[in-house]
């Protein structure tokens, strides 16, 4: 019996190759996306779950005062961890992490080679115990026993030393610190929040030794007793503020604990989340909903196509019924057919998923491996999806055909309830509404991104290369290197700065003289000389910062933007020049000049206060050259700079980044959203068209006799095509009517994230609608023309 049904189902699929292929393809494409999305969602959920003590590990967070907009911070004063351990018995251990030089960047010399590293951290030795880090060389208990120790990951070891053991070998960081490798640890998992390959001992540095409650730069994890109540610990930790922190230094109001399992997905609202690996639980939920939606739509599409085709199977089913097949057997036959078809689709979907994995990884910004696609759990999920599709997708044709009397089937009289027809039409409207909304989104996002790219930021980020200079270890070398770059023919100007706009400035608070309560948060960057020309800032009044300072000059000279000048009460920038103002750098800072406001962060943010300052022995050291070049031959020019560095600093790694590339990173999320929406709009259109195709085929099949009669009575092909297409155009028009306000609403909301945004043009809706109708007409047109061109004798003879 099963063999027989298999035979019929298989041969029927082969006989209707076109329909079968269409169906398999539609299902496979949907399943490809669903499989990829589910794999991605599962990967996101797996973050930080692999640590043995995960359930008892928490990250300590704190809430800042109103002055800092009640922000939640993940970076804390370094006193929090040690005080928790000493004062709260339920705390078993703590580990703090801080980036080297607060940036994590550093030039590393090892095995007579230079490496530029971007994730160097300082930590406590307890980190290795809390996170059960396995060592392949050395002993984790002894890792930080001796001063000047460093541990590196296995992959970094291989990179630096090949197959040679690394234990006790030397590592020179920024040409300043010579450290001994005291251990090699197995790489931390990719699905953890820890990105570092090099850990230094925090207790070797003032950062670990000098415990304080002021500077907040330290990510702090604690391990609690398994019976500890996190709420109690939070209260006890918050009590430290009153106990240990002077009133005028209390810029945070309370501490709270974040379970380790939430660090990855629940940290978007934190200022500085420690890791570039940051996910979003909303994104994960969206991904799973999308995957389910895609499977659902694929099922309905399958039903549309299968029901259209089942008209052709009617006689066979009727004969089977006459010959004694039970309803259950007829149902089984359709489930069997769906099962075969969806099985092929799943297999094809997995293959397709493998082949488009790299594209998917790029679009979503993840790094799923092929092995993950074929993991046991994933195969299990794929089989579950197969079962669901077989049961859901197969049910409509199965029940439809099983419940129609055999006589009707044999005479091909299949009538369907109005409800079924409304559902099918509703689905088409739904699919096209989604498609049109997404197309509207693609247009609006592209326009906004172009607006961002064309926007005058108030400075000129193009043609600037930023070069880290922490590894320059003497003043002589600094001067030689700077002069050599200055002498290159392509160099326009150089600034020596703490940092470049929007990355690693110091966050400070500005007060008007005599006021203490109110304050203006400002970003500051120390500068060793002029900055206006190198950055292309617009000087509104005064002059640039001075290049040279007399050895006795203790003044702090500042260059402020309009926000600061206005806050200080100067209506005219000219009035600000020469004024002495209190800053955190110096109580009598002198304003040298005022520059026009510039967007130093993303256009999503309003422009805040900004100060460049120049003084002898600033608290914040200089970390970058910003070199403006005026040559088109950029690669050879950068190579020349590299040569200068290599000559002067043979033991340091050279690294650089173009400033405009960095700015693009502000919009990574948006450009990712754009990619995702573009891909999904294409996918939904494709699936919607398949569904439409199925419905058109079904309608053409149902109205075969009517078309025949009309043709016999003299209807032209054009009129019949118009007759058949008309209904579908109405459906798409309904979709358009729903999609326009919906699209406007959704993407106006998206634009709200931008401080500087476009006005949505009317034609974006017209374009989206026109595109959808065009595609739909092409899809339906094929079936309509085919039906219209058919010989009426054939359709009438069937009667």
């Amino acid at each position: 019996m099963i063999k027989n049904y298999f035979k019929i189902a298989w041969r029927s699929l082969l006989k209707n190759r076109f329909f079968s292929l269409l169906n398999i393809l539609g299902l496979a494409v949907s399943l490809t996306v669903a499989i990829l999305l589910i794999t991605y969602g599962r990967q996101e959920l797996s973050f930080n779950r692999q640590f043995k003590q995960e359930a008892n590990i928490y990250r300590v967070l704190m809430q800042a005062t109103a002055e800092y907009n009640h922000e939640k911070w993940s970076n804390l004063p370094n006193a929090v961890g040690p005080t928790m351990l000493s004062d709260i018995p339920e705390v078993k251990a703590f580990a703090r992490l801080v980036r080297l030089d607060f940036t994590g960047f550093g030039s590393v010399n090892a095995n007579e080679k230079n490496f530029f590293e971007k994730n160097i951290y300082l930590t406590d030795s307890s980190f290795f115990d809390i996170f059960d880090v396995e060592f392949t060389e050395g002993n984790k208990q002894l890792a930080f026993k001796h001063p000047k120790s460093v541990v590196i990951s296995a992959s970094k070891k291989e990179n630096m030393f090949g197959n040679e053991p690394a234990l006790n070998k030397k590592l020179i960081i920024n040409q300043q610190d010579t450290l001994t490798i005291s251990g090699v640890f197995q790489d931390l998992p990719q699905n953890s929040s820890f990105e570092s390959d090099i850990f230094l001992n925090m207790m070797d540095s003032w950062m670990g030794k000098n415990v304080h409650w002021s500077n907040a730069s330290y990510y702090t994890f604690c391990l609690l007793n398994s019976n500890a109540n996190p709420k109690d610990i939070e209260q006890k930790t918050t009590a430290f503020i009153e106990k240990y922190v002077p009133k005028d230094r209390q810029y945070y109001t309370n501490f709270f604990l974040q379970p380790l399992s939430q660090v990855y997905l629940h940290s978007q609202d934190l200022r500085d989340n420690m890791s570039t690996r940051t996910g979003s639980i909303d994104a994960v939920k969206t991904v799973f909903i999308l995957a389910m939606l895609i499977i659902f739509i694929a099922c309905i599409n399958y039903m549309n196509l299968a029901t259209a085709r089942s008209q052709k199977n009617a006689k066979e089913v009727g004969v089977n019924k006459v010959l004694g097949a039970h309803r259950s057997q007829i149902k089984f036959r359709f489930y069997m057919e769906t099962g075969i078809l969806s099985f092929f689709s799943i297999c094809l979907g997995l293959l397709l998923a493998t082949s488009v994995l790299s594209v998917f990884n790029t679009i979503i910004g993840t790094n799923i491996h092929v092995a993950q696609l074929f993991s046991l759990e994933n195969i299990g999920i794929a089989l579950l999806i197969w079962l669901v599709i077989t049961l859901v997708g197969g049910s409509y044709p199965a029940f439809l055909m099983a419940n129609i009397p055999s006589l009707s089937l044999m005479k091909n009289i299949i009538t369907q309830s109005n409800i079924a027809q409304y559902i099918r039409k509703g689905l088409v409207v739904f699919q096209f509404t989604c498609s049109i909304v997404l197309i509207i989104g693609v247009i609006i996002i592209s326009l906004q991104m172009r607006h961002v790219a064309d926007k005058d930021l108030g400075y000129q980020p193009s043609n600037i290369v930023t070069i880290p200079i922490r590894s320059i270890n003497t003043m002589d070398k600094f001067n030689t290197i700077k002069q050599s770059i200055q002498n290159l023919s392509g160099t326009a100007s150089i600034a020596t700065l703490q940092t470049f706009p929007g990355f690693g400035e110091s966050g400070k608070t500005m007060h008007r003289r005599g006021e203490t309560n109110e304050g203006l948060p400002v970003s500051t960057s120390s500068s060793r000389g002029p900055v206006v020309s190198a950055l292309g800032l617009h000087l509104l009044a005064g002059t640039d910062l001075p290049e040279e300072l007399a050895a006795t000059d203790s003044t702090c000279y500042v260059l402020v933007n309009e926000v600061v000048s206005a806050y200080l009460g100067y209506e005219n920038p000219q009035d600000a020049v020469g004024q002495r103002i209190p800053t955190e750098m110096s109580p009598n800072s002198v304003i040298k000049g005022v520059v026009r406001n510039f967007n130093f962060t993303s256009l999503k943010e309003a422009v805040g206060g900004y100060i460049y300052y120049r003084m002898l022995r600033p608290n914040e050291s200089y970390r970058y050259f910003l070199v403006r070049y005026n040559t088109d031959n950029v690669a050879p020019y950068v190579a020349q700079i590299q040569q200068i560095f290599n000559q002067q600093l043979p033991d340091a790694a050279f690294d650089y980044q173009f400033l405009d590339e960095h700015i693009k990173n502000y919009y990574t999320a948006e450009s990712r959203t754009n990619n995702i929406i573009t891909s999904f709009s294409m996918l939904t259109i494709f699936i919607a068209c398949l569904g439409l195709f199925g419905l058109a085929a079904f309608t053409a099949e149902q109205r075969k006799k009517e078309i025949g009669v009309r043709k016999v009575l003299g209807a032209s092909i054009f009129k019949i095509v118009r007759l058949l297409s008309g209904n579908f155009v109405s459906l798409i028009s309904i979709a358009l009517l729903i999609a326009i306000p919906l699209g406007w609403w959704v993407f106006s909301g998206w634009l709200q994230d931008f401080n500087d945004k476009i006005t949505i043009p009317w034609w974006s809706f017209a374009l989206a609608g026109g595109f959808a109708i065009g595609i739909a007409l092409m899809t339906v047109g094929y079936q309509a023309v085919k039906a219209a061109k058919a010989n009426p004798v054939d359709s009438l003879r069937d009667e």
Partner: protein, 225 residues
């Protein structure tokens, strides 16, 4: 074998009720060969569908081998049908996706006959209708006459007590038509009861008795023997 009494069958739409069969009484004995004749629309095919338990009757009684089957549910009808009745249609109604062998085998599959037994019986009946050499062909690869012979083979493979034939020669030329009629006659002679709907006076002569219908009623019964 078949005793139908006071059979009423209506076709209803929202506004109109059409009487398809009106007070029909029929009695067919085991081993009989009965032809039902009448103009198009007189209700003869409807009658045949009711006899074959493919359609319901609205009023009246239907005794099949002494059992009242008028109120049978679909499952019971299906069981009764597959064990007792074979069908031959004007348009053959072979399943395009199955070969000749598989088409004929189908009724045996539904009655759970073991595979070896199925093979033996299918081959036997294919030999009988002289289509064995085409056993692995698909229906569309056969002529009309050959297709109808396959359909007859399928109808008899389960050794039904009753064969219902709805215009079995309607789509065939005279020589193929004759072949099919001879086949049916042979089956009848071997003991199978046959009820055949036909337009053809020529075919009706093969039957023992002719029931003539008009406007849903039996108007005359004549014996041809």
């Amino acid at each position: 074998m078949i005793k139908i009494t006071n059979l009423q069958k209506y076709y209803r739409t929202e506004e109109v009720e059409t009487v398809a069969l009106n007070n029909v009484n029929i009695h067919v004995k085991e081993g009989e060969f009965v032809a039902v004749m009448g103009p198009s629309g007189c209700g003869k095919s409807t009658l045949l569908n009711i006899v074959g338990l493919l359609d319901d009757l609205d009023e009246g009684s239907y005794l099949f081998n002494g059992t009242e089957v008028a109120k049978f549910k679909e499952g019971n009808r299906s069981n009764l049908r597959k064990h007792n009745i074979g069908f031959v249609f004007q348009s053959f109604n072979l399943i395009d996706e199955l070969t000749v062998f598989e088409n004929v085998e189908l009724p045996l599959v539904y009655t759970n006959v073991p595979a070896a037994e199925r093979k033996r019986r299918v081959e036997e009946v294919l030999e009988k209708v002289q289509i064995m050499h085409r056993r692995n062909h698909f229906p569309q690869q056969l002529s009309g006459g050959q297709q109808q012979r396959v359909a007859v083979a399928r109808a008899v493979v389960n050794n039904p007590k009753l064969i219902l034939a709805d215009e079995p020669t309607g789509n065939l030329d005279s020589s193929n038509g004759n072949e099919v009629m001879h086949l049916l006659t042979e089956l009848n002679e071997a003991g199978t009861t046959i009820v055949m709907v036909t337009h053809s006076e020529h075919d009706a002569k093969f039957a023992d008795r002719v029931i003539r219908m008009l406007d849903g009623q039996v108007i005359m019964e004549t014996s041809t023997v």
